[in-house]
């Protein structure tokens, strides 16, 4: 008994001592909108949630090996249509309660509950059929069909049953700001930042005691601050400032593997913009090369720049990119003017009018994008102005973007500048399928084109990879012609961390997957 007590005491002491390291401060692109993994809407959300929750299975950030921190053992069952998962013992939630198989099944049921309006859960409804708690901390998860790689399908974060009243989880619960997770850090979102406190567990021993996230504002100030050690990290360093970071011996640029592309969405339901010729004219009015030079700092003709033009909804390195569709690098005013005239617009006093009315384009941009591409909104506005359009420009907060813009309530705007980020899965059905039911969930201006819907449905139904690739190549060609978006570019993301932050492996997409191993030598 005395020995057992001594060992238990030593274990508690060991747990308490974990995370007695330093505090790291870092600038994020924006504050997370939610810490509830069911409702991640921004990359900042995903990165923050990775600190607070455990995903059932994840990929090692270095070797890509499939790993788990919480599963003790697993075996296939029911002819491969189910998997029996046994959780490790001793796992704790941040409120001190023990994790059990009940939590795993609760999470599955919450995702299957139609009362949980989560796009992430929606995806899992095509994969999971149910979950049954079995003895000995085990759960049997059932799939909708046999998968050759069942563990790879189970990348969701586990939620604590005890923190919810029911399996219908909504985004407005307090859990979104004050979550209870099992990850290496306990997070709490405030108005100006998020504090993550290390939480030692049998499966996590974080070497950092606390992480402090704040929203980075002026990127130049961010870089000066990190060089002066006012913060220790910046998630996204704009290209114009990367040479300053590289030149410092105390800060290092780090790659962050993410597929992000930028666009200007066009309100295809609004008056003259419904005419494809007008959209094509706008496309030709933009001088992307100039925009890139002024906003991103890439000179024309620069090889292997971090910012590469695109002509469709994929990055050029993607298998889905249709390389037969050329990019439009430079403006062509003559062609643009002709298209507008053919579409029935007329210039009066140097400005375009439609049906006798003056046109005043309302252009919005997701505000945090200004950090990566300073002044892009005004540069776009200036080019459209030079092309003869009066305009008014607004930056849109993330909250308004999520609540209004992405839900199809942006009818007031004519053009919206935004960005999409993807990992391995580059599914764009939600962006371009007509909105309704399970489709078009983030179709910004409720664009509707039956031929696009048809191609997207072909992609969904494709039995072979070739058919899927062909469908998306045709989608690219169709969208490049119809232009619900004016496609701009892909932009690589680079982070900066002080060299005193050691072993700071950055996971593709999820970023902080390997945070347990991070250390800070001041």
């Amino acid at each position: 008994m005395a020995l057992r007590n001594a060992l238990r005491s030593a274990g508690v002491t060991a747990l308490a001592l974990a995370g007695t390291g330093a505090t790291l401060s870092y600038h994020e692109v924006s504050l997370p909108t939610t810490l509830n993994p069911l409702f991640a809407a921004t990359m900042s959300d995903y990165r923050s949630q990775e600190l607070v929750f455990d995903r059932l299975w994840f990929h090692d950030a270095v070797t890509n090996e499939l790993k788990t921190r919480i599963v003790e053992k697993w075996e296939l069952a029911e002819g491969g249509k189910a998997i029996k998962v046994t959780l490790k013992s001793g796992l704790k939630w941040h409120d001190g309660k023990s994790m059990s198989a009940k939590d795993l099944c609760f999470t599955v049921r919450a995702m299957l509950d139609k009362g949980t309006p989560s796009p992430i859960a929606e995806g899992y409804r095509g994969v999971l059929e149910g979950c049954e708690v079995q003895g000995g901390n085990s759960a049997l998860i059932r799939f909708t069909r046999v998968f050759h790689n069942p563990r790879e399908r189970l990348g969701f974060a586990i939620l604590p049953e005890g923190a919810f009243q029911s399996t219908a989880i909504t985004p407005d619960l307090d859990f979104s700001a004050h979550p209870v997770g099992s990850g290496p850090f306990k997070g709490s979102r405030g108005r100006r930042g998020v504090v993550f406190d290390a939480f030692a567990n049998v499966h996590h021993q974080p070497g950092i005691a606390q992480l402090q996230l704040s929203e980075g504002n002026d990127p130049l100030i961010q870089v000066k601050t990190i060089i002066n050690n006012g913060v220790q990290g910046i998630i996204a360093v704009p290209p114009t400032l990367r040479p300053d970071v590289s030149a410092s011996d105390e800060v290092a640029l780090k790659s962050y593997d993410l597929r992000s592309w930028w666009f200007i969405a066009v309100n295809t339901n609004k008056g003259f913009l419904a005419d494809k010729r007008v959209r094509q004219a706008l496309n030709l009015m933009l001088d992307r090369s100039k925009l890139r030079e002024l906003a991103i700092g890439v000179k024309p003709g620069e090889q292997n720049s971090p910012c590469e033009f695109i002509s469709g909804p994929f990055v050029q390195s993607s298998a889905y990119y249709n390389r037969a569709i050329p990019v439009v690098e430079r403006s062509d005013r003559a062609r643009s003017d002709k298209l507008l005239t053919d579409a029935g617009l007329a210039k009066q006093g140097g400005s375009w009018t439609w049906k006798g009315q003056s046109i005043n384009l309302k252009i919005g941009m997701l505000a945090p994008l200004n950090t990566e591409a300073p002044d892009l909104l005004s540069l776009i506005g200036n080019q459209l102005g030079e092309g003869g359009f009066k305009r008014v420009e607004n930056k849109i907060s993330e909250d308004e973007w999520n609540r209004q813009i992405l839900t199809g309530q942006a009818g007031d705007y004519d053009l919206l500048v935004g960005k999409w980020s993807f990992g391995l899965v580059e599914d764009v059905n939600d962006q371009f399928h007509s909105r309704g039911g399970k489709n078009g969930k983030v179709n910004i201006f409720n664009y509707a084109n039956p031929s696009v819907d048809t191609v997207l449905q072909e992609y969904d139904r494709a039995r072979t990879d070739t058919a899927a690739q062909d469908a998306y190549h045709r989608l690219h060609a169709t969208l490049a012609d119809d232009l619900p978006y004016l496609f701009l570019w892909k932009l690589d993301t680079k982070s900066a961390w002080r060299t005193g932050v050691r072993n700071n492996i950055i996971a593709p997409y999820h970023y902080f997957t390997e945070i347990d191993g991070w250390r800070y030598d001041k």
């Binding site: 991640a40 809407a41 921004t42 990359m43 959300d45 995903y46 090692d60 270095v62 070797t63 890509n64 090996e65 796009p119 992430i120 929606e122 995806g123 899992y124 095509g126 994969v127 998968f147 050759h148 790689n149 790879e152 399908r153 990348g155 969701f156 590289s246 011996d249 290092a252 640029l253 780090k254 790659s255 593997d257 597929r259 292997n304 050029q316 390195s317 993607s318 298998a319 997701l366 935004g418 960005k419 999409w420 980020s421 993807f422 990992g423 391995l424 899965v425 580059e426 599914d427 962006q431 039995r463 072979t464 990879d465 070739t466 058919a467 899927a468 690739q469 072993n503 492996i505 593709p508």
Partner: protein, 458 residues
């Protein structure tokens, strides 16, 4: 048109140099590094204006430094000089395409092996068989090529015959002989040093999907191997006789198939600085050190740390017999700093090219660390060092052979996204590597379609 640029201008020396040599010049080496070891490193040797001039004033070498390999090839073809530049360029191309072949084969093996789907036509066995042959797995190649599926690929008839014979020959795996290679799709034709052949137009094979309609457009997994062979032959055709053994030593790390233990020279062979300039191999002793490290891992450090700058940098990063990645990163920085100080020594003062030279050395240390860690079976640590080397591979420090090898490693780990980015970025310099795209694209699509659900966010 060959652009003749002064290396000094490229490096921004003019106008940026301090007014004169620094008053306080340390004769001794910076702490932690032996003066003689540093002095043998090409950045220090070429800190001398006279030593650097042949490189600075040669369009080919300027292009090599700027990683403009097409321009370099044209320049060396027009002015071969002693042949070393051209030979080195062909050796680097050979290494590049060996790694590209590895990338394509790794991706193919995963798509139609590990991740094979019921909808895949049986004919993909041909692709798997050739991929296995490229990677030197004779039994697996023979098995895959012997299936009815593989035999159904009409465009693969010659390939199947060649590789089946190769796989069943005594002593397999052995290098492919020239007559056999000439029968394969993508065979580049007669060797012509100073040129860069292209591969056969894609697709090399169209594999019908049967009832589903459509076809898989595939590249032959051996096409890139044939380019590598061609460049190696071109290198041997122009290399000065005294440098001929270097071709084997330099290509050994990239050979496909089971590792063959090379006899490691006990002493550093004579290596002209032309083989080292702008590379992560800093001194002649680094060549045998890395050969030894591939076979012995950490144990090679003790024997070479008194002669090889890379070994000297890595030795202090060993703790309890294991190379520690964070310490390797520190040491890479330390060596770079030491080299910068040594370059500035002798009254030369700080100059604009010192930093780019040192950055190449820093990446060299990280890459060497990855070799040592990998040989010790510490693959994850090797991966960490590779990723750190990638982070430091900016501008002139971005060695395309390293970048394609990282992509090949990623493909081997079923990690297509970074590999695709790397490959895409290399296409402008090495257009023929386009042949690696189909299998890598196939890997991306296959893994994405069978991944956990995901949504796009902003």
């Amino acid at each position: 048109m060959i652009r003749v640029l002064s290396l000094a201008l490229v490096l921004g020396c003019s106008g940026d140099d301090p007014p004169g040599p620094s008053a306080d010049v340390a004769a001794a080496a910076p702490a932690g590094f032996d003066a003689a070891v540093l002095a043998a490193a090409w950045p220090v040797r070429l800190a001398d204006d006279a030593a650097r001039a042949p490189f600075e004033n040669n369009a080919g070498w300027v292009a090599v430094f700027q990683r403009e390999y097409g321009v370099a090839m044209e320049a060396f073809a027009a002015d071969r000089g002693d042949g070393r530049g051209l030979a080195r360029l062909h050796v680097e191309h050979a290494a590049f395409y060996l790694e590209a072949a590895r990338l394509a084969a790794n991706a193919t093996r995963h798509v139609y092996g590990t991740d094979r789907q019921p909808e895949d036509p049986p004919s993909v066995d041909y692709l798997v068989g050739v991929a296995q042959a490229v990677l030197g797995d004779c039994a697996a190649a023979a098995a895959a090529l012997g299936t009815p599926g593989a035999q159904s690929v009409a465009t693969g008839a010659e390939g199947r015959a060649v590789w089946s014979a190769w796989a069943s020959a005594p002593g397999c795996p052995a290098p492919l002989d020239d007559p056999s290679a000439a029968r394969l799709i993508g065979a580049p034709g007669a060797v012509a040093p100073g040129t860069r052949p292209v591969s056969a137009p894609l697709p090399h094979h169209s594999l019908p999907l049967g009832a589903d309609g459509g076809a898989i457009s595939a590249a032959d997994p051996a096409a890139l191997l044939l380019l590598a062979r061609w460049h190696e032959a071109a290198a041997r055709a122009v290399v000065p006789a005294e440098d001929a053994p270097l071709v084997d030593l330099l290509l050994a790390p990239y050979r496909l198939g089971p590792a063959v233990a090379l006899a490691v020279p006990a002493e550093a062979p004579p290596v002209d600085v032309a083989w080292l300039f702008a590379s992560g191999l800093l001194a002649p002793a680094d060549v045998p050190f890395l050969a030894a490290a591939r076979q012995q891992g950490v144990a090679a450090l003790a024997a070479w740390s008194g002669r090889s700058p890379l070994a000297a940098a890595l030795a202090p990063a060993v703790v309890d017999g294991k190379l520690v990645p964070d310490k390797v990163i520190d040491q890479s920085f330390a060596l770079g700093t030491a080299l910068e100080e040594a370059m500035a020594g002798g009254g030369r003062g700080e100059q604009g090219f010192h930093r780019p030279f040192a950055d190449i050395a820093r990446v060299g240390v990280l890459r060497a660390g990855a070799v040592v860690a990998s040989a010790a079976g510490e693959e994850r640590d090797a991966g960490i060092l590779r990723i750190n080397a990638l982070d430091r591979s900016i501008g002139t420090a971005a060695d395309p052979v390293f970048l394609i090898s990282l992509a090949a490693w990623d493909a081997g780990n079923r990690n297509p996204l970074r590999a695709q980015e790397l490959l895409h970025g290399l296409l402008s310099s090495f257009p023929a590597v386009e042949a690696a795209r189909p299998p890598l694209d196939a890997l991306q699509i296959r893994l994405a379609r069978t991944a956990a659900p995901a949504t796009a966010v902003h």
